[in-house]
Symmetry: C2
Subunit: 314 residues, 2 copies
Protein backbone atom coordinates (compact mmCIF):
# COMPACT_ATOMS: atom_id res chain seq x y z
CA UNK A 1 0.00 0.00 0.00
CA UNK A 2 1.57 3.31 -0.98
CA UNK A 3 2.24 5.05 2.31
CA UNK A 4 1.03 8.46 1.40
CA UNK A 5 -2.24 7.11 0.17
CA UNK A 6 -2.49 5.34 3.47
CA UNK A 7 -2.81 8.67 5.22
CA UNK A 8 -6.34 8.27 6.31
CA UNK A 9 -6.71 4.63 5.45
CA UNK A 10 -5.11 3.93 8.77
CA UNK A 11 -7.62 6.13 10.52
CA UNK A 12 -10.39 4.17 8.95
CA UNK A 13 -9.34 0.60 9.14
CA UNK A 14 -11.77 0.29 11.95
CA UNK A 15 -14.67 1.10 9.69
CA UNK A 16 -13.77 -1.56 7.24
CA UNK A 17 -12.94 -4.42 9.46
CA UNK A 18 -9.23 -4.65 8.66
CA UNK A 19 -7.22 -5.84 11.60
CA UNK A 20 -4.06 -4.18 12.81
CA UNK A 21 -1.67 -6.05 15.01
CA UNK A 22 0.30 -3.21 16.57
CA UNK A 23 -1.33 -1.19 19.32
CA UNK A 24 -0.81 2.33 20.51
CA UNK A 25 1.47 2.36 23.51
CA UNK A 26 -0.51 4.33 26.00
CA UNK A 27 -1.40 4.22 29.63
CA UNK A 28 -4.48 2.21 28.69
CA UNK A 29 -2.20 -0.69 27.79
CA UNK A 30 -2.21 -1.70 31.43
CA UNK A 31 -5.96 -2.27 31.20
CA UNK A 32 -7.56 -5.28 29.56
CA UNK A 33 -7.62 -4.39 25.89
CA UNK A 34 -10.94 -3.73 24.20
CA UNK A 35 -11.33 -5.45 20.84
CA UNK A 36 -10.80 -3.69 17.57
CA UNK A 37 -13.93 -3.10 15.55
CA UNK A 38 -12.78 -5.85 13.20
CA UNK A 39 -12.51 -8.27 16.12
CA UNK A 40 -15.89 -7.25 17.46
CA UNK A 41 -17.41 -8.09 14.09
CA UNK A 42 -15.43 -11.26 13.49
CA UNK A 43 -16.39 -12.74 16.84
CA UNK A 44 -20.06 -11.90 16.70
CA UNK A 45 -22.19 -15.06 16.67
CA UNK A 46 -25.23 -15.27 14.37
CA UNK A 47 -27.63 -14.84 17.29
CA UNK A 48 -26.27 -11.34 17.84
CA UNK A 49 -27.75 -10.30 14.52
CA UNK A 50 -31.36 -9.96 13.45
CA UNK A 51 -32.71 -10.10 9.94
CA UNK A 52 -34.74 -7.06 8.98
CA UNK A 53 -38.25 -8.27 8.13
CA UNK A 54 -39.01 -7.73 4.46
CA UNK A 55 -42.20 -5.89 5.35
CA UNK A 56 -40.11 -3.22 7.09
CA UNK A 57 -37.52 -2.92 4.36
CA UNK A 58 -38.01 -0.19 1.77
CA UNK A 59 -36.06 0.47 -1.43
CA UNK A 60 -36.03 4.07 -2.60
CA UNK A 61 -34.72 4.07 -6.16
CA UNK A 62 -33.24 7.12 -7.85
CA UNK A 63 -31.09 7.59 -10.93
CA UNK A 64 -28.20 8.06 -8.49
CA UNK A 65 -28.73 4.67 -6.87
CA UNK A 66 -30.82 2.65 -4.46
CA UNK A 67 -31.38 3.64 -0.85
CA UNK A 68 -32.36 0.82 1.52
CA UNK A 69 -34.38 1.88 4.55
CA UNK A 70 -35.53 0.04 7.65
CA UNK A 71 -38.78 1.36 9.07
CA UNK A 72 -39.27 1.75 12.81
CA UNK A 73 -42.94 1.10 13.58
CA UNK A 74 -42.30 0.86 17.32
CA UNK A 75 -41.43 4.54 17.33
CA UNK A 76 -43.89 5.87 14.77
CA UNK A 77 -46.67 3.32 14.20
CA UNK A 78 -49.08 5.70 12.48
CA UNK A 79 -46.46 7.23 10.23
CA UNK A 80 -45.12 3.83 9.24
CA UNK A 81 -48.63 2.54 8.56
CA UNK A 82 -49.28 5.54 6.36
CA UNK A 83 -45.97 5.25 4.48
CA UNK A 84 -46.71 1.59 3.84
CA UNK A 85 -50.13 2.51 2.50
CA UNK A 86 -48.64 5.20 0.23
CA UNK A 87 -45.97 2.80 -0.99
CA UNK A 88 -48.59 0.14 -1.69
CA UNK A 89 -50.40 2.71 -3.84
CA UNK A 90 -47.13 3.50 -5.70
CA UNK A 91 -47.60 7.05 -4.44
CA UNK A 92 -43.94 8.04 -4.54
CA UNK A 93 -43.12 6.47 -7.92
CA UNK A 94 -42.36 9.20 -10.43
CA UNK A 95 -42.34 11.97 -7.82
CA UNK A 96 -39.14 13.86 -7.06
CA UNK A 97 -36.55 14.98 -4.59
CA UNK A 98 -37.67 18.50 -3.77
CA UNK A 99 -34.67 19.77 -1.88
CA UNK A 100 -31.12 18.92 -0.99
CA UNK A 101 -29.58 21.28 1.51
CA UNK A 102 -25.89 20.86 2.19
CA UNK A 103 -25.00 19.40 5.58
CA UNK A 104 -28.66 18.93 6.42
CA UNK A 105 -31.32 16.89 4.58
CA UNK A 106 -32.60 15.58 1.27
CA UNK A 107 -36.40 15.63 1.08
CA UNK A 108 -38.82 14.12 -1.40
CA UNK A 109 -42.52 14.08 -2.22
CA UNK A 110 -45.07 15.51 -4.62
CA UNK A 111 -43.96 18.85 -6.09
CA UNK A 112 -47.62 19.63 -6.75
CA UNK A 113 -48.94 18.56 -3.37
CA UNK A 114 -50.39 21.98 -2.71
CA UNK A 115 -52.24 22.27 -5.98
CA UNK A 116 -55.54 20.53 -5.23
CA UNK A 117 -56.20 19.83 -8.89
CA UNK A 118 -52.77 18.62 -9.87
CA UNK A 119 -51.68 16.88 -6.68
CA UNK A 120 -51.31 13.15 -6.81
CA UNK A 121 -54.06 11.29 -5.00
CA UNK A 122 -53.03 9.91 -1.67
CA UNK A 123 -55.81 7.33 -1.73
CA UNK A 124 -56.90 6.26 1.73
CA UNK A 125 -54.01 8.07 3.44
CA UNK A 126 -54.92 10.51 6.19
CA UNK A 127 -54.45 14.22 5.51
CA UNK A 128 -52.70 14.78 8.82
CA UNK A 129 -51.19 12.48 11.40
CA UNK A 130 -50.79 12.97 15.11
CA UNK A 131 -47.13 13.68 15.87
CA UNK A 132 -45.09 10.70 17.04
CA UNK A 133 -42.16 12.56 18.51
CA UNK A 134 -41.58 10.17 21.38
CA UNK A 135 -42.97 7.03 22.96
CA UNK A 136 -43.27 5.44 26.38
CA UNK A 137 -39.86 3.86 27.03
CA UNK A 138 -41.36 0.51 28.04
CA UNK A 139 -43.14 0.28 24.67
CA UNK A 140 -40.21 0.64 22.30
CA UNK A 141 -37.79 -2.09 23.33
CA UNK A 142 -34.61 -2.54 25.34
CA UNK A 143 -32.39 0.52 25.66
CA UNK A 144 -28.61 0.16 25.42
CA UNK A 145 -27.17 3.29 27.00
CA UNK A 146 -23.86 4.77 25.95
CA UNK A 147 -21.50 5.52 28.82
CA UNK A 148 -20.27 8.98 27.83
CA UNK A 149 -23.42 11.05 28.06
CA UNK A 150 -25.18 13.21 25.51
CA UNK A 151 -25.48 16.94 24.94
CA UNK A 152 -29.13 16.88 23.97
CA UNK A 153 -30.76 14.30 26.22
CA UNK A 154 -30.38 12.77 29.68
CA UNK A 155 -29.36 9.48 28.06
CA UNK A 156 -28.45 8.39 24.55
CA UNK A 157 -27.94 4.95 23.11
CA UNK A 158 -29.70 2.42 20.93
CA UNK A 159 -33.08 0.74 20.75
CA UNK A 160 -33.72 -2.05 18.22
CA UNK A 161 -30.71 -0.92 16.19
CA UNK A 162 -31.78 2.72 16.00
CA UNK A 163 -29.93 5.64 17.62
CA UNK A 164 -32.18 6.92 20.36
CA UNK A 165 -32.42 9.05 23.47
CA UNK A 166 -34.31 8.64 26.70
CA UNK A 167 -35.50 10.68 29.62
CA UNK A 168 -35.84 8.48 32.73
CA UNK A 169 -37.78 11.21 34.50
CA UNK A 170 -40.55 11.41 31.94
CA UNK A 171 -40.31 7.77 30.94
CA UNK A 172 -40.16 8.75 27.26
CA UNK A 173 -37.82 7.61 24.49
CA UNK A 174 -37.27 8.98 21.00
CA UNK A 175 -35.19 8.43 17.90
CA UNK A 176 -32.15 10.66 17.39
CA UNK A 177 -31.47 12.75 14.28
CA UNK A 178 -28.24 11.06 13.22
CA UNK A 179 -26.87 10.80 9.68
CA UNK A 180 -29.13 8.56 7.61
CA UNK A 181 -32.26 8.85 9.74
CA UNK A 182 -35.62 9.04 7.95
CA UNK A 183 -38.16 11.66 9.00
CA UNK A 184 -41.56 12.95 7.96
CA UNK A 185 -41.77 16.64 7.07
CA UNK A 186 -44.45 18.76 8.67
CA UNK A 187 -45.82 22.27 8.71
CA UNK A 188 -45.98 24.50 11.73
CA UNK A 189 -48.51 22.47 13.67
CA UNK A 190 -46.87 19.39 15.23
CA UNK A 191 -49.76 17.31 13.89
CA UNK A 192 -49.47 18.55 10.32
CA UNK A 193 -47.23 15.82 8.95
CA UNK A 194 -48.74 13.27 6.61
CA UNK A 195 -45.73 11.05 5.79
CA UNK A 196 -46.24 12.01 2.14
CA UNK A 197 -43.11 14.14 2.28
CA UNK A 198 -40.06 12.40 3.68
CA UNK A 199 -36.48 13.42 4.39
CA UNK A 200 -33.19 11.78 5.25
CA UNK A 201 -30.42 13.45 7.25
CA UNK A 202 -27.40 13.93 4.95
CA UNK A 203 -25.13 15.98 7.19
CA UNK A 204 -23.92 16.49 10.72
CA UNK A 205 -26.61 15.30 13.11
CA UNK A 206 -29.23 18.07 13.55
CA UNK A 207 -30.13 16.84 17.02
CA UNK A 208 -32.10 20.01 17.76
CA UNK A 209 -34.80 18.45 15.55
CA UNK A 210 -35.25 15.55 17.99
CA UNK A 211 -38.82 15.50 19.31
CA UNK A 212 -39.71 18.19 16.81
CA UNK A 213 -40.27 15.95 13.81
CA UNK A 214 -41.39 12.35 13.59
CA UNK A 215 -38.57 9.99 12.73
CA UNK A 216 -39.66 6.67 11.32
CA UNK A 217 -36.67 4.76 10.03
CA UNK A 218 -33.01 4.57 9.13
CA UNK A 219 -31.01 4.09 5.93
CA UNK A 220 -29.16 0.76 6.02
CA UNK A 221 -27.34 1.09 2.70
CA UNK A 222 -27.05 3.46 -0.22
CA UNK A 223 -26.71 6.84 1.45
CA UNK A 224 -24.61 8.20 -1.44
CA UNK A 225 -27.63 8.07 -3.73
CA UNK A 226 -28.98 10.93 -1.59
CA UNK A 227 -25.82 12.52 -0.23
CA UNK A 228 -24.23 13.23 -3.61
CA UNK A 229 -27.32 14.86 -5.11
CA UNK A 230 -26.55 18.38 -6.28
CA UNK A 231 -27.64 20.89 -3.67
CA UNK A 232 -30.65 22.94 -4.70
CA UNK A 233 -30.08 26.57 -5.60
CA UNK A 234 -33.16 27.86 -3.80
CA UNK A 235 -33.60 28.75 -0.16
CA UNK A 236 -33.13 25.69 2.07
CA UNK A 237 -31.82 23.71 -0.86
CA UNK A 238 -35.09 23.58 -2.79
CA UNK A 239 -34.43 22.86 -6.45
CA UNK A 240 -34.98 25.72 -8.83
CA UNK A 241 -35.88 25.46 -11.57
CA UNK A 242 -38.15 22.45 -11.12
CA UNK A 243 -36.37 20.60 -13.93
CA UNK A 244 -33.42 20.10 -11.63
CA UNK A 245 -35.39 17.93 -9.21
CA UNK A 246 -33.99 14.40 -9.20
CA UNK A 247 -36.71 11.92 -10.11
CA UNK A 248 -37.81 9.08 -7.87
CA UNK A 249 -38.03 5.94 -9.94
CA UNK A 250 -39.95 4.08 -7.31
CA UNK A 251 -40.25 3.49 -3.59
CA UNK A 252 -41.16 -0.12 -2.91
CA UNK A 253 -41.48 -2.55 -0.04
CA UNK A 254 -39.11 -5.53 -0.22
CA UNK A 255 -41.85 -8.00 0.67
CA UNK A 256 -43.93 -6.83 -2.30
CA UNK A 257 -41.19 -7.79 -4.75
CA UNK A 258 -40.46 -11.23 -6.21
CA UNK A 259 -38.03 -13.00 -3.91
CA UNK A 260 -35.27 -12.84 -6.50
CA UNK A 261 -35.40 -9.03 -6.40
CA UNK A 262 -35.25 -8.78 -2.63
CA UNK A 263 -31.99 -7.89 -0.91
CA UNK A 264 -31.95 -9.13 2.65
CA UNK A 265 -30.17 -7.29 5.46
CA UNK A 266 -29.25 -8.02 8.98
CA UNK A 267 -28.43 -5.56 11.73
CA UNK A 268 -26.36 -6.26 14.81
CA UNK A 269 -28.61 -6.53 17.86
CA UNK A 270 -27.83 -3.42 19.86
CA UNK A 271 -28.64 -5.22 23.11
CA UNK A 272 -26.04 -7.96 22.36
CA UNK A 273 -22.58 -8.47 23.84
CA UNK A 274 -21.15 -8.11 20.34
CA UNK A 275 -22.58 -4.62 20.10
CA UNK A 276 -21.13 -3.75 23.50
CA UNK A 277 -17.73 -4.82 22.17
CA UNK A 278 -18.33 -2.83 19.00
CA UNK A 279 -19.05 0.29 21.03
CA UNK A 280 -15.89 -0.24 23.09
CA UNK A 281 -13.88 -0.65 19.90
CA UNK A 282 -15.27 2.63 18.64
CA UNK A 283 -14.69 4.44 21.93
CA UNK A 284 -11.11 3.33 22.28
CA UNK A 285 -9.45 2.97 18.88
CA UNK A 286 -6.66 0.53 19.47
CA UNK A 287 -5.25 0.67 15.95
CA UNK A 288 -1.64 1.87 15.82
CA UNK A 289 -2.54 4.96 13.82
CA UNK A 290 -4.27 6.60 16.77
CA UNK A 291 -2.00 8.80 18.85
CA UNK A 292 -4.78 9.82 21.24
CA UNK A 293 -7.66 7.35 21.27
CA UNK A 294 -10.68 9.35 22.41
CA UNK A 295 -11.91 6.80 24.92
CA UNK A 296 -15.36 8.32 24.49
CA UNK A 297 -18.09 8.32 21.88
CA UNK A 298 -21.22 10.20 20.99
CA UNK A 299 -24.33 8.40 19.75
CA UNK A 300 -24.24 9.52 16.12
CA UNK A 301 -20.63 8.35 15.73
CA UNK A 302 -21.28 4.73 16.68
CA UNK A 303 -22.91 3.47 13.44
CA UNK A 304 -24.71 0.17 13.94
CA UNK A 305 -23.15 -2.76 12.03
CA UNK A 306 -25.38 -3.72 9.13
CA UNK A 307 -24.73 -6.25 6.37
CA UNK A 308 -26.31 -7.91 3.42
CA UNK A 309 -27.29 -11.52 3.82
CA UNK A 310 -25.82 -13.52 1.00
CA UNK A 311 -28.41 -15.22 -1.17
CA UNK A 312 -27.23 -18.66 -0.08
CA UNK A 313 -28.09 -17.81 3.51
CA UNK A 314 -31.77 -17.18 3.15
CA UNK B 1 -45.49 29.65 0.24
CA UNK B 2 -47.13 26.29 -0.36
CA UNK B 3 -47.57 24.81 3.08
CA UNK B 4 -46.44 21.29 2.36
CA UNK B 5 -43.25 22.53 0.84
CA UNK B 6 -42.79 24.56 3.95
CA UNK B 7 -42.38 21.37 5.96
CA UNK B 8 -38.79 21.86 6.79
CA UNK B 9 -38.45 25.41 5.66
CA UNK B 10 -39.86 26.37 9.00
CA UNK B 11 -37.26 24.29 10.76
CA UNK B 12 -34.60 26.10 8.88
CA UNK B 13 -35.59 29.70 8.85
CA UNK B 14 -33.03 30.19 11.53
CA UNK B 15 -30.25 29.16 9.18
CA UNK B 16 -31.25 31.64 6.58
CA UNK B 17 -31.88 34.68 8.59
CA UNK B 18 -35.63 34.90 7.98
CA UNK B 19 -37.50 36.39 10.88
CA UNK B 20 -40.54 34.82 12.42
CA UNK B 21 -42.88 36.87 14.53
CA UNK B 22 -44.73 34.16 16.43
CA UNK B 23 -42.96 32.34 19.24
CA UNK B 24 -43.50 28.98 20.80
CA UNK B 25 -45.55 29.31 23.95
CA UNK B 26 -43.46 27.47 26.48
CA UNK B 27 -42.40 27.85 30.06
CA UNK B 28 -39.36 29.76 28.81
CA UNK B 29 -41.68 32.61 27.84
CA UNK B 30 -41.40 33.88 31.38
CA UNK B 31 -37.65 34.33 30.90
CA UNK B 32 -36.12 37.15 28.88
CA UNK B 33 -36.31 35.93 25.32
CA UNK B 34 -33.12 35.06 23.51
CA UNK B 35 -32.93 36.53 20.03
CA UNK B 36 -33.66 34.53 16.92
CA UNK B 37 -30.65 33.79 14.77
CA UNK B 38 -31.92 36.39 12.32
CA UNK B 39 -32.06 38.99 15.07
CA UNK B 40 -28.59 38.07 16.29
CA UNK B 41 -27.27 38.67 12.78
CA UNK B 42 -29.30 41.79 12.09
CA UNK B 43 -28.15 43.50 15.28
CA UNK B 44 -24.48 42.64 14.99
CA UNK B 45 -22.37 45.80 14.63
CA UNK B 46 -19.46 45.83 12.14
CA UNK B 47 -16.90 45.59 14.95
CA UNK B 48 -18.23 42.14 15.80
CA UNK B 49 -16.94 40.86 12.48
CA UNK B 50 -13.41 40.45 11.24
CA UNK B 51 -12.25 40.34 7.65
CA UNK B 52 -10.28 37.22 6.77
CA UNK B 53 -6.81 38.36 5.64
CA UNK B 54 -6.28 37.59 1.97
CA UNK B 55 -3.04 35.80 2.81
CA UNK B 56 -5.03 33.25 4.84
CA UNK B 57 -7.78 32.80 2.29
CA UNK B 58 -7.44 29.89 -0.14
CA UNK B 59 -9.57 29.01 -3.15
CA UNK B 60 -9.66 25.35 -4.08
CA UNK B 61 -11.18 25.12 -7.55
CA UNK B 62 -12.75 21.95 -8.95
CA UNK B 63 -15.06 21.29 -11.86
CA UNK B 64 -17.80 20.99 -9.22
CA UNK B 65 -17.18 24.47 -7.88
CA UNK B 66 -14.97 26.66 -5.73
CA UNK B 67 -14.20 25.92 -2.09
CA UNK B 68 -13.09 28.88 0.01
CA UNK B 69 -10.89 28.02 2.98
CA UNK B 70 -9.57 30.07 5.89
CA UNK B 71 -6.24 28.83 7.20
CA UNK B 72 -5.53 28.70 10.93
CA UNK B 73 -1.82 29.38 11.43
CA UNK B 74 -2.24 29.88 15.19
CA UNK B 75 -3.11 26.20 15.49
CA UNK B 76 -0.80 24.71 12.89
CA UNK B 77 1.95 27.21 11.99
CA UNK B 78 4.27 24.71 10.30
CA UNK B 79 1.51 23.04 8.31
CA UNK B 80 0.11 26.36 7.18
CA UNK B 81 3.56 27.59 6.21
CA UNK B 82 4.09 24.45 4.18
CA UNK B 83 0.68 24.63 2.48
CA UNK B 84 1.37 28.23 1.56
CA UNK B 85 4.70 27.20 0.08
CA UNK B 86 3.08 24.39 -1.91
CA UNK B 87 0.34 26.70 -3.14
CA UNK B 88 2.93 29.29 -4.17
CA UNK B 89 4.60 26.57 -6.23
CA UNK B 90 1.24 25.68 -7.85
CA UNK B 91 1.79 22.22 -6.38
CA UNK B 92 -1.89 21.23 -6.20
CA UNK B 93 -2.89 22.58 -9.63
CA UNK B 94 -3.79 19.68 -11.89
CA UNK B 95 -3.66 17.10 -9.11
CA UNK B 96 -6.80 15.26 -8.05
CA UNK B 97 -9.25 14.32 -5.36
CA UNK B 98 -8.06 10.86 -4.36
CA UNK B 99 -10.95 9.72 -2.23
CA UNK B 100 -14.45 10.66 -1.21
CA UNK B 101 -15.82 8.48 1.54
CA UNK B 102 -19.46 8.93 2.41
CA UNK B 103 -20.16 10.62 5.74
CA UNK B 104 -16.46 11.14 6.33
CA UNK B 105 -13.91 13.05 4.22
CA UNK B 106 -12.84 14.13 0.74
CA UNK B 107 -9.05 14.04 0.34
CA UNK B 108 -6.78 15.41 -2.38
CA UNK B 109 -3.15 15.37 -3.40
CA UNK B 110 -0.74 13.77 -5.85
CA UNK B 111 -1.92 10.34 -7.03
CA UNK B 112 1.71 9.51 -7.85
CA UNK B 113 3.20 10.80 -4.62
CA UNK B 114 4.70 7.42 -3.80
CA UNK B 115 6.36 6.91 -7.15
CA UNK B 116 9.68 8.71 -6.71
CA UNK B 117 10.14 9.16 -10.45
CA UNK B 118 6.66 10.30 -11.31
CA UNK B 119 5.74 12.25 -8.20
CA UNK B 120 5.37 15.96 -8.55
CA UNK B 121 8.20 17.94 -7.03
CA UNK B 122 7.38 19.54 -3.73
CA UNK B 123 10.11 22.11 -4.13
CA UNK B 124 11.40 23.42 -0.83
CA UNK B 125 8.65 21.73 1.16
CA UNK B 126 9.70 19.47 4.02
CA UNK B 127 9.21 15.75 3.62
CA UNK B 128 7.67 15.40 7.06
CA UNK B 129 6.31 17.87 9.57
CA UNK B 130 6.12 17.62 13.32
CA UNK B 131 2.51 16.98 14.33
CA UNK B 132 0.54 20.04 15.39
CA UNK B 133 -2.29 18.28 17.17
CA UNK B 134 -2.71 20.86 19.90
CA UNK B 135 -1.23 24.10 21.18
CA UNK B 136 -0.75 25.93 24.46
CA UNK B 137 -4.11 27.55 25.21
CA UNK B 138 -2.57 30.95 25.89
CA UNK B 139 -0.99 30.96 22.42
CA UNK B 140 -4.06 30.43 20.25
CA UNK B 141 -6.40 33.23 21.23
CA UNK B 142 -9.45 33.82 23.38
CA UNK B 143 -11.66 30.80 24.02
CA UNK B 144 -15.43 31.17 24.00
CA UNK B 145 -16.79 28.14 25.85
CA UNK B 146 -20.15 26.60 25.09
CA UNK B 147 -22.33 26.07 28.15
CA UNK B 148 -23.62 22.55 27.47
CA UNK B 149 -20.45 20.48 27.66
CA UNK B 150 -18.86 18.16 25.16
CA UNK B 151 -18.58 14.40 24.84
CA UNK B 152 -14.97 14.38 23.64
CA UNK B 153 -13.24 17.10 25.62
CA UNK B 154 -13.42 18.86 28.99
CA UNK B 155 -14.53 22.04 27.21
CA UNK B 156 -15.64 22.88 23.70
CA UNK B 157 -16.23 26.22 22.07
CA UNK B 158 -14.62 28.60 19.61
CA UNK B 159 -11.26 30.26 19.12
CA UNK B 160 -10.77 32.86 16.37
CA UNK B 161 -13.88 31.60 14.59
CA UNK B 162 -12.84 27.95 14.61
CA UNK B 163 -14.57 25.16 16.51
CA UNK B 164 -12.16 24.06 19.20
CA UNK B 165 -11.75 22.15 22.42
CA UNK B 166 -9.66 22.77 25.51
CA UNK B 167 -8.31 20.94 28.50
CA UNK B 168 -7.81 23.34 31.41
CA UNK B 169 -5.76 20.72 33.25
CA UNK B 170 -3.14 20.35 30.55
CA UNK B 171 -3.45 23.93 29.33
CA UNK B 172 -3.79 22.68 25.75
CA UNK B 173 -6.29 23.65 23.03
CA UNK B 174 -7.04 22.04 19.68
CA UNK B 175 -9.30 22.39 16.67
CA UNK B 176 -12.37 20.13 16.49
CA UNK B 177 -13.21 17.84 13.57
CA UNK B 178 -16.51 19.46 12.60
CA UNK B 179 -18.08 19.48 9.15
CA UNK B 180 -15.95 21.57 6.79
CA UNK B 181 -12.70 21.43 8.75
CA UNK B 182 -9.46 21.10 6.78
CA UNK B 183 -6.85 18.55 7.86
CA UNK B 184 -3.50 17.18 6.71
CA UNK B 185 -3.36 13.44 6.07
CA UNK B 186 -0.58 11.44 7.64
CA UNK B 187 0.81 7.91 7.85
CA UNK B 188 1.16 5.90 11.00
CA UNK B 189 3.79 8.06 12.65
CA UNK B 190 2.23 11.23 14.10
CA UNK B 191 5.03 13.22 12.45
CA UNK B 192 4.53 11.73 8.99
CA UNK B 193 2.21 14.37 7.57
CA UNK B 194 3.57 16.76 4.99
CA UNK B 195 0.52 18.92 4.17
CA UNK B 196 0.81 17.72 0.59
CA UNK B 197 -2.30 15.61 1.03
CA UNK B 198 -5.27 17.44 2.50
CA UNK B 199 -8.79 16.49 3.48
CA UNK B 200 -12.03 18.18 4.42
CA UNK B 201 -14.68 16.66 6.69
CA UNK B 202 -17.82 16.04 4.60
CA UNK B 203 -19.95 14.14 7.10
CA UNK B 204 -20.95 13.87 10.72
CA UNK B 205 -18.12 15.22 12.86
CA UNK B 206 -15.48 12.48 13.35
CA UNK B 207 -14.40 13.94 16.67
CA UNK B 208 -12.38 10.82 17.49
CA UNK B 209 -9.81 12.23 15.04
CA UNK B 210 -9.23 15.28 17.25
CA UNK B 211 -5.59 15.42 18.37
CA UNK B 212 -4.84 12.55 15.98
CA UNK B 213 -4.45 14.59 12.81
CA UNK B 214 -3.35 18.17 12.29
CA UNK B 215 -6.22 20.48 11.44
CA UNK B 216 -5.22 23.69 9.75
CA UNK B 217 -8.30 25.50 8.50
CA UNK B 218 -12.00 25.65 7.82
CA UNK B 219 -14.18 25.90 4.71
CA UNK B 220 -16.00 29.24 4.68
CA UNK B 221 -18.01 28.71 1.49
CA UNK B 222 -18.47 26.15 -1.23
CA UNK B 223 -18.71 22.88 0.68
CA UNK B 224 -20.99 21.34 -1.98
CA UNK B 225 -18.09 21.30 -4.46
CA UNK B 226 -16.62 18.59 -2.21
CA UNK B 227 -19.69 17.09 -0.56
CA UNK B 228 -21.49 16.18 -3.80
CA UNK B 229 -18.48 14.44 -5.34
CA UNK B 230 -19.32 10.85 -6.24
CA UNK B 231 -18.08 8.50 -3.53
CA UNK B 232 -15.12 6.39 -4.59
CA UNK B 233 -15.74 2.71 -5.22
CA UNK B 234 -12.57 1.53 -3.51
CA UNK B 235 -11.91 0.90 0.14
CA UNK B 236 -12.25 4.10 2.19
CA UNK B 237 -13.73 5.87 -0.78
CA UNK B 238 -10.57 5.87 -2.91
CA UNK B 239 -11.46 6.34 -6.55
CA UNK B 240 -11.03 3.32 -8.78
CA UNK B 241 -10.30 3.40 -11.58
CA UNK B 242 -8.01 6.42 -11.44
CA UNK B 243 -9.94 8.08 -14.27
CA UNK B 244 -12.76 8.75 -11.85
CA UNK B 245 -10.66 11.07 -9.71
CA UNK B 246 -12.06 14.60 -9.84
CA UNK B 247 -9.41 17.01 -11.09
CA UNK B 248 -8.18 19.99 -9.11
CA UNK B 249 -8.08 22.99 -11.39
CA UNK B 250 -6.01 25.01 -9.00
CA UNK B 251 -5.51 25.85 -5.35
CA UNK B 252 -4.58 29.49 -4.96
CA UNK B 253 -4.10 32.11 -2.30
CA UNK B 254 -6.46 35.07 -2.54
CA UNK B 255 -3.66 37.58 -1.97
CA UNK B 256 -1.76 36.21 -4.97
CA UNK B 257 -4.64 37.03 -7.32
CA UNK B 258 -5.46 40.35 -8.96
CA UNK B 259 -7.74 42.28 -6.64
CA UNK B 260 -10.65 41.97 -9.05
CA UNK B 261 -10.52 38.18 -8.71
CA UNK B 262 -10.45 38.16 -4.94
CA UNK B 263 -13.58 37.41 -2.97
CA UNK B 264 -13.42 38.88 0.49
CA UNK B 265 -15.03 37.24 3.51
CA UNK B 266 -15.76 38.20 7.03
CA UNK B 267 -16.42 35.95 9.98
CA UNK B 268 -18.32 36.86 13.12
CA UNK B 269 -15.89 37.31 16.02
CA UNK B 270 -16.56 34.37 18.26
CA UNK B 271 -15.56 36.38 21.32
CA UNK B 272 -18.19 39.07 20.54
CA UNK B 273 -21.55 39.69 22.19
CA UNK B 274 -23.18 39.09 18.81
CA UNK B 275 -21.77 35.59 18.71
CA UNK B 276 -23.02 34.96 22.25
CA UNK B 277 -26.49 35.95 21.05
CA UNK B 278 -26.08 33.75 17.99
CA UNK B 279 -25.24 30.77 20.18
CA UNK B 280 -28.28 31.45 22.37
CA UNK B 281 -30.46 31.65 19.28
CA UNK B 282 -29.15 28.28 18.17
CA UNK B 283 -29.55 26.69 21.59
CA UNK B 284 -33.10 27.84 22.07
CA UNK B 285 -34.93 28.00 18.75
CA UNK B 286 -37.69 30.48 19.35
CA UNK B 287 -39.30 30.07 15.94
CA UNK B 288 -42.91 28.89 16.12
CA UNK B 289 -42.16 25.64 14.28
CA UNK B 290 -40.24 24.19 17.22
CA UNK B 291 -42.39 22.15 19.55
CA UNK B 292 -39.47 21.28 21.85
CA UNK B 293 -36.58 23.75 21.55
CA UNK B 294 -33.52 21.83 22.65
CA UNK B 295 -32.14 24.56 24.90
CA UNK B 296 -28.72 23.00 24.38
CA UNK B 297 -26.14 22.81 21.62
CA UNK B 298 -23.07 20.87 20.67
CA UNK B 299 -20.03 22.57 19.15
CA UNK B 300 -20.34 21.20 15.61
CA UNK B 301 -23.96 22.36 15.37
CA UNK B 302 -23.28 26.01 16.02
CA UNK B 303 -21.83 27.07 12.62
CA UNK B 304 -20.02 30.38 12.78
CA UNK B 305 -21.67 33.19 10.78
CA UNK B 306 -19.62 33.94 7.69
CA UNK B 307 -20.43 36.27 4.82
CA UNK B 308 -19.01 37.74 1.67
CA UNK B 309 -18.01 41.36 1.77
CA UNK B 310 -19.64 43.18 -1.08
CA UNK B 311 -17.18 44.73 -3.52
CA UNK B 312 -18.29 48.24 -2.58
CA UNK B 313 -17.19 47.61 1.02
CA UNK B 314 -13.52 46.93 0.46
Amino acid sequence: MPPRLCLSRCALLVLLGCSVSAFAQTEEDAQPKPPTAAEALAHSPPEHWRQVPADRLVYLELDSGRVVIELAPEFAPKHVEQVLSLIADSYFDGLAVLRSQDNYVAQWGDPLADDAEAARSRGEAAERLVAEFDQASEAVGPFTALPDGDIYAPEAGFIRGFPAARDPRSGRSWLAHCYGMLGAGRDESPDSGSAAQLYVVTGHAPRHLDRNVTLLGRVLEGMPALSILPRGDGALGFYIPAQKRPAIRRMVLASALPEAEQIAFEVMRTESASFARWVEARRFRREAWFAHPAGRIEVCNVSVPTRRIEAADH
